[in-house]
């Protein structure tokens, strides 16, 4: 018998999965060799623990309150089809109702009476960046305060650039956040957070325990834990409204195209004056101006990828009072790394430098990626309210982004978007009305004079069309300049 018995074979021994002959051989080995005997002992210990686990019971839970929330969710879901199946009103009645709604809205603007929750206002798209009205808080509702858990690249708060020293400042109602090429994530409850994608903005129209209303433009990823009855969570994207209870979803509102993708739970989308449309987990609603909204099933891969990207960075322990007082016992960590370097904290990719990520106090492992290889990383201790820059493990820092790079990157995006060859690839689909809402996300590495790499990261186009687009992008020629890398989403 070989003296090198693999641990998994000892595990089979402990689980009594070996035949008698092999078992006897291993017993013989263990009797003759102390190391083998110790390995057998460890395997037996592991098996005993596994048997114990398989018979363990769960702790007691608040069974009744859990059931109350289940029942509430089910009742809500059952009411949804009833609303959709209601008979349409005659035109004159719809016109009358519209007039009444306008009058009610006028009344609300001039002075809303206290009492019942009000319908949130329909916002014009152009209003988003120009001081949409903050909705008055209901008297009994507790105001919420959010905390930035991730800042990647540049972002502004009420028009002012956000520096690391402002990250502990609570995010309250009326705040407007906007990003240029980065992302910003805000947590506002246990398991509840939103993340603003690049070139996007959000204004907190209402932010309290009773209701959260966000007006957005661009891309927003939302993860909301289950709301208690009477709590609402609403996202306005232009004139459209997305309403949820407990779920994970993304709203993209760009260039007249709206997409609402849901990976968990269910969201109700109110498009203009239409009946609410339910977007269940694994489905996506697409709407291009002038066309009818359509809800389609996402592929398994698309769902998985979306679910991963929708995983907003949040802290496991959350106390609203801490966030409100600006004394949350968490810290912020950054990596000493060149712009654009991928960073992982505790083995989790969190984004690209420059970034700050909020962590629980304690020891954290920060690593960076250089040329596709993760470095060994370094350990750093972060205390409450501390901002720590972890030492870089990269052998050489890349040059920081300069204006020439930005210009070259912008030029490349413009050329891709305007390329007749790229558009030609989807013409066939367009003729059949299948291109609306389709997308393709590219990763391009441009050297000084030629393209170094070109990858299709994700797309919902057929493979043949996607490779046609890839080839067309590969043929784009740019004048020599500094090397740049770029991720770009082509929306058709």
């Amino acid at each position: 018998v070989s003296r090198r018995v693999q641990p998994r074979e000892w595990a089979d021994y402990a689980a009594d999965r070996l035949d008698a002959h092999r078992r006897a051989q291993l017993d013989e080995l263990a009797a003759a060799d102390g190391d083998a005997a110790a390995a057998r002992e460890r395997a037996m210990r592991a098996r005993a623990v596994m048997s114990e686990i398989s018979g363990s019971e769960a702790p007691e839970l608040s069974w009744d309150s859990a059931f109350a929330r289940i029942h509430w969710e089910l009742s809500l879901a059952r009411r949804q089809p009833e609303v959709q199946s209601r008979r349409r009103w005659p035109r004159w009645a719809a016109a009358g109702a519209g007039a009444a709604a306008l009058a009610a809205l006028a009344l609300w603007v001039t002075g809303r009476p206290d009492g019942d929750p009000v319908a949130t206002p329909q916002l014009a798209h152009s209003q988003l960046d120009h001081g949409s009205q903050v909705i008055p808080m209901q008297l009994e509702a507790e105001p919420l305060t959010g905390l930035v858990t991730l800042l990647e690249g540049a972002a502004t708060r009420d028009g002012q650039p956000i520096g690391p020293d402002q990250l502990d400042r609570g995010i309250t109602v009326g705040t407007t956040l906007a990003t240029t090429d980065g992302r910003i994530a805000v947590q506002f409850g246990p398991g509840s957070a939103f993340e603003l994608g690049p070139q996007s903005s959000v204004r907190l129209l209402r932010f309290d325990g009773g209701e959260v209303v966000l007006a957005t433009s661009g891309t927003i990823d939302v993860e909301v834990s289950h709301r208690a009855p009477k709590q609402r969570f609403v996202v306005h994207a232009g004139a459209n409204r997305v309403e949820v209870r407990g779920t994970r979803f993304r709203v993209e509102d760009r260039d007249g195209h709206l997409a609402v993708s849901c990976t968990r739970g269910e969201v109700a989308t109110f498009v203009g004056n239409r009946e609410p449309m339910a977007v269940a987990a694994g489905r996506r609603l697409s709407l291009t101006s002038g066309a009818s909204p359509a809800v389609v099933e996402m592929s398994r891969e698309e769902q998985d990828e979306l679910d991963e990207s929708l995983d907003v960075i949040t802290l496991d322990s959350w106390d609203q009072d801490w966030a409100g007082s600006g004394a949350h016992p968490s810290g912020l960590v950054a990596a000493e790394a060149a712009s654009g370097t991928l960073i992982a904290v505790d083995g989790v990719e969190v984004g690209v430098a420059p970034l700050w990520v909020r962590v629980a106090p304690g020891r954290h492992h920060v690593a960076t990626e250089t040329n596709g290889t993760w470095g060994p990383g370094s350990w750093t201790v972060v205390g409450p309210s501390q901002r720590v820059v972890a030492k870089s493990d990269a052998p050489a820092a890349k040059p920081r982004r300069n204006r020439a790079r930005s210009r070259r990157r912008a030029r490349l995006i413009r050329d891709i978007e305007a390329s007749p060859a790229v558009r030609g690839c989807v013409r066939g689909l367009e003729k059949r009305g299948l291109a609306e809402g389709a997308y393709l996300e590219l990763e391009v590495g441009l050297g000084k004079s030629s393209m170094h790499f070109l990858n299709v990261l994700r797309t919902d186009l057929p493979p043949a069309v996607a490779s046609c687009v890839r080839r067309a992008v590969g043929r784009i020629e740019l004048p020599p300049g500094p090397a740049v890398e770029l991720r770009h989403r082509l929306q058709f």
């Binding site: 641990p7 592991a46 686990i53 398989s54 769960a58 859990a66 989790v348």
Partner: protein, 207 residues
Amino acid sequence: MELVGRKNRSTSGPSYREREAELIARVQRGERDAEMELYRAHRRQVAANLYRVLGHADELEDLVQEVFIIAFKGLDKFRRDSRLSTWLYRIAVNVALGNIRKRSRRPRTVLTPEAGERRVADSNHSPYRQVVREQDRELCYRVMEMLAPKKRLVLYLHEIEGRELKDIAEILGVNPVTVRTRLFYARREFYKLLDDEMQRMDAEAKA
């Protein structure tokens, strides 16, 4: 095939099937009492399944809710060729998988060795064996957390729950060949890591 229900075995037989079918029909009609009855009959089993897969009780209540919401909403999809408890088990395992994925992508505080030592010191009043058993249990879950979520789940179902490859494939909705491949790599990785960690722990204890 019986996947769950160590405690439910006594309820087998046509009358149980009929009662279950009637209960499901009442839930589908929206009867709150029926929902409650079904929930009461299976809640502990669902919670225990989730708890065993995950190894902790964080968010357990939320996850139990999620399982029942998915189940109640999808009762139309429930095929009567298996038991409701089996179907709920499948949902629970997939909900647990979602949670494992979520947690594996989230930065978490790393336990320092000092924290581990403190726990041992605090357990002075407990018998030594029990402390070692608790440490081994914690270690077992910690090593499982190092595996990719899909591998972890396959390993759990096979090594801890003792499921057959065919059952695991059915629970996870994948090909049995895929399960076999995943299990091979998961076992190799898990037992190697577990053995290394146990050796390290034993060496530290001796020192």
